[in-house]
Amino acid sequence: MEALQTKAKELLAAGTVQVAIGYGKGTGNARRPLFVTKPERAADLIVDAACTQNLATYLTKHEVRVMGRMAVVAVPSTLRSILQLAAEKQIREEQVLALAVIDGQVRELATFEAIEEAVATIPDAMSEADRNMIDKLSAMSVPERRAFWADELVRCVKCYACRASCPMCYCERCTTDVNRPQWIPVASHAVGNLEYHVMRAMHLAGRCVECGTCGKACPVGIPVHLLTIYAEDSVRRQFGQRGGASAKLDYAMSTFKPDDKEEFIR
């Protein structure tokens, strides 16, 4: 933790970065995003097991970007987000610097290449709890799964916290906001909710970094992140590609192989 505070302080003092995005103290034991612009406030930065939110979400926010070069405290999924955002031309190398927290060690990663190297050493990002839950769901019959998701999704109030918390949901206009035609019904109801979440998962397939932040952001506790993680896992299983592995575009869903398996097509 001290190493991080020192590092951030140095960077801010030297003017290498103008803002350090990290975790600060929230209510109780919770952590909340903290934007440090003055070297002396670097001491407020915290790193511990409770820091799980993917801070990459803020890298594409206009309000943050206008501050100048950003240093971001990065857990492994944040690093992947940076690469995926770079691949999708949403962020340039000179705009960001990662303060990677990997196994309790803080490392400054100033280039995409350095981030790529670091990401390459990080194993599967899906948490054990998520893995267990997906396995459990996969073992169910189709009607059982339908019942499970119907029960979950009926509670969705379409607050879009999942979308707002996701670093890859940076679109200025989401499909849900399109009203000609109205792909996703505005009101919250079972079918519309299903359409919304399936759409979100499809849009994240091949781009999701499996941070699970969307699920944690849900105020009514729907495990929406399982859908995006599942879609991402599906891409990995079928095409061997994954989101956030490279700063160069390697998006499985906009490429193909002539011999992709197709036994389901008659």
């Binding site: 339908r146 079918v191 499809m202």
Partner: protein, 145 residues
Amino acid sequence: MAEPFEPKITAFVCNWCTYAGADLTGTSRIKYQPNVRVIRLPCTGRIDFMMVLKAFTRGSDGVIISGCHPNDCHYTSGNYHARRRWMVFRDLLEFVGIDLERIIFSWVSAAEGAKWADLVNEVTSKVRALGPYRELRQLAAVGID
């Protein structure tokens, strides 16, 4: 006695292979069941997964998606892109509990008039046996749409 159930089948087809193939079914006068409604699109690459989802939520009992065989795409590779999308989409649909039996993918070329008739007949009969697709419609009833 209630009327026998006649399924609604929506088919998304590409203009160059399957639509032309279905035209050939017509010129060859091969009969098939009248339950299918064709949505003509230029290419399978144009088939947005949202359309498929919408077809179901709007009351289709079955969906056919069909285009050019691999290598035969009029636009070189639209069908390959589409195929990848379907691979993930199918996987995801099954994960949220939607029956894949009602969504059939097929390659039907401009020369395969008979295959189109077979496909429509097979899907219609299969969906007729499965019965109306109540699950999503029941969900719709929960909401206000």
